[in-house]
Amino acid sequence: MTAPTTPATPSQDPEEASVSQDSEVLAAAAAPIAGPIRSSLASQLGQRLALRLRLRVAGPAVALGVLLLGAPSMFDDYGIGLLSKALALGVLAVSVSVLAGYAGLPTMGQAAPFLVGAYTAGIMGQHGQDLGVVQLLCGTATGAGFAAVTGLVATRTRGVAFLMTTLAIGELAVAVAGRWHSLTGGTDGMYGIPPVRPLPGTTQLDTDGAVYWYVLGACAAVVALVWRVLRSPVGKLLLAGRDHEARMRSAGHPVAVHRWLAYVAAGALAGFGGVLMCTVNAYVSPADGGFATSALVLLAVVLGGATSPLGALFGAGLIVATRDWLSGPFPGHGPLLLGLMFIVAVYALPDGIAGLRIRVPRRWPGRQRLARFRRPQGPRRPDQPERPERRAGSA
């Protein structure tokens, strides 16, 4: 595959060439999973997808996988606890990245459904329902319900107005949580939440390590689900609505409904994250869902790259690490370190952590023109016989 692909542009564009080779390998590898590719159009789509998969996933995924799987042997109990907390916040960050990156709705109030989910889990735990799965399902449902109601107002607005509306919703949720003593315990918070049993028939999670594996599993499952949905045509609908809303309407898509559904789904995700946070802390207070949480998570998404769920997870981890762990030697200076990190990130990584790999070739001035001539012409043709599955499919 290498020899016929490279002659056109090897000297000018080594980065591009290696990328396209890998994308072909991936496309070929994906073929049996995706079913027979029926036309050249579909194979081109496959190549595109594989290219993006490689660029967007490989970097963050490998780093994250190594860190998460190796963590229990690398860190002490405090470090493990922080990592669990970062994962719970990470689910919240993923929900913000769905809204900000895909639906084009940067939100300042996503901590509100997060708080709703956390209280749902706390109340269930206090009333003897300590099954993790049930708590997760119920927290997801209440988060979605909360978003379904508030979304009726919030998704009517755009841009700064949306930012302000969601900020107001978030602050209102915190205020209600602080006042509603009988249900939430008020500003003192909710104590005495027993550890969860993940599934029926399992024992309670009584060590930090066990909680970590539970949170990691739940987190991985939900992020995989989000990933799959965003990669499906649903993700394309959202992206198109973000790119050009008027054109979507003109094509006959009910964009307002799409936005509301995205908002509800993000609320469900945030609720899920809230349940995990309650499990990790065994304590819920209104402060968990305040403005600071919403803002930090939005920054985590900016840090990670807005359209990358994995990047968002990574960003959340970086923030928790900086605020609670790195600041150990500099007590009281956590916010300063965070601020420094953001300044560096905004200047050095305009596309976020997930954009690290594609940033360099994109800056190169000749790239677009080369890409224009590379695909439809010459070098593609001779290597066709080497990929019989594609040729057979198009016949």
Binding site: S232, V234, K236, A240, D243, A246, M248, A251, G252
Partner: protein, 273 residues
């Protein structure tokens, strides 16, 4: 022939500026109807009003016998009114194939398009629209990386993919090469005869090649309606719009200038993205 779109007393005012002033106009089913007029005559506003992008200040719009004056853009699109834009608008972060498939999505009889497999077959099916406008080789390219002319062709393919009953084209030939204009004419002539095409255009050569009916607007009012030959012969039109033959020559030159701009287009677009 019956009228598929009837406008009665249609008025649109932007503050003190009246863009469309009490227009009474009907578009016959299956017509190839061109709307021409000098800059600021209200042509694009008229298209916006018909498609539902803008709400009229007063007046009625009837489509297929029913009043759609208050119907939203989405609703009218689903009823079969598709359009292209003066500035070709596409979803730039998606591929060309995805753009057409998403445009066809609300209009396809297939259900469950949000499933990968159904969506894929929809996208494959839409390949024919890309072939019609001659950009099938670009199917995998991100739409944001297209040149101006390619983007316009994609915009048109997206309108075709909606399988419309009424197709509104806003200056489709502007910025196209001579070859592109020919391809566009072929594609439009290949449309089923029952499809109504309303085209706003400056290029009179394009208009006379396509249209069977021409309407001239001036300051938001109807100046004349007739066949292309009648319009070029009409004294009032000449006085108000075409002026004399010299100015007609100027118009043609303008069209040529557009094409010169297109020749440099790909490079400009390539660097801008």
């Amino acid at each position: 022939m019956t009228d598929v779109i009837e406008l009665s007393g249609l008025t649109k005012a932007f503050g003190a500026t009246v863009a469309v002033a009490g227009l009474d106009l009907a578009f016959a089913a299956g017509a190839r109807h061109a709307v021409i007029g000098p800059n600021g005559a209200g042509k694009t506003t008229l298209l916006h009003l018909i498609s539902g992008e803008l709400r009229p200040t007063s007046g009625r719009i009837r489509y297929d016998g029913r009043d759609v004056t208050r119907g939203s853009r989405v609703k009218r699109s689903r009823l079969g009114i598709a359009r292209t834009f003066q500035q070709p608008t596409v979803w730039s972060s998606l591929s060309v194939a995805d753009n057409v498939a998403l445009a066809a999505w609300p209009h396809t009889p297939a259900r469950g398009t949000w499933l990968r497999s159904r969506y894929r077959s929809l996208a494959e099916d839409c390949g024919r629209h890309l072939e019609t406008v001659g950009i099938a080789t670009l199917a995998g390219r991100p739409a944001g990386a297209l040149s101006h002319g390619e983007r316009r062709m994609l915009d048109i393919a997206m309108a075709l993919a909606a399988e419309p009953r009424v197709l509104l084209l806003d200056e489709p030939a502007a910025g196209l090469t001579e070859h592109g204009v020919e391809r566009l004419l072929t594609a439009l002539r290949a449309l089923p005869p029952e499809v109504t095409v309303v085209v706003v255009e400056h290029d009179f050569a394009f208009v006379s090649a396509l249209a069977d009916t021409v309407t001239v607007l001036h300051d938001g009012r109807l100046l004349a309606t007739g066949t292309p030959a009648q319009i070029t012969a009409d004294a009032a039109v000449r006085a108000a719009y075409l002026g004399d033959l010299d100015e007609l020559g100027d118009l043609d030159e303008l069209g040529d200038l557009d094409r010169v701009g297109e020749a440099g287009g790909p490079h400009v677009a390539g660097e801008a993205v």
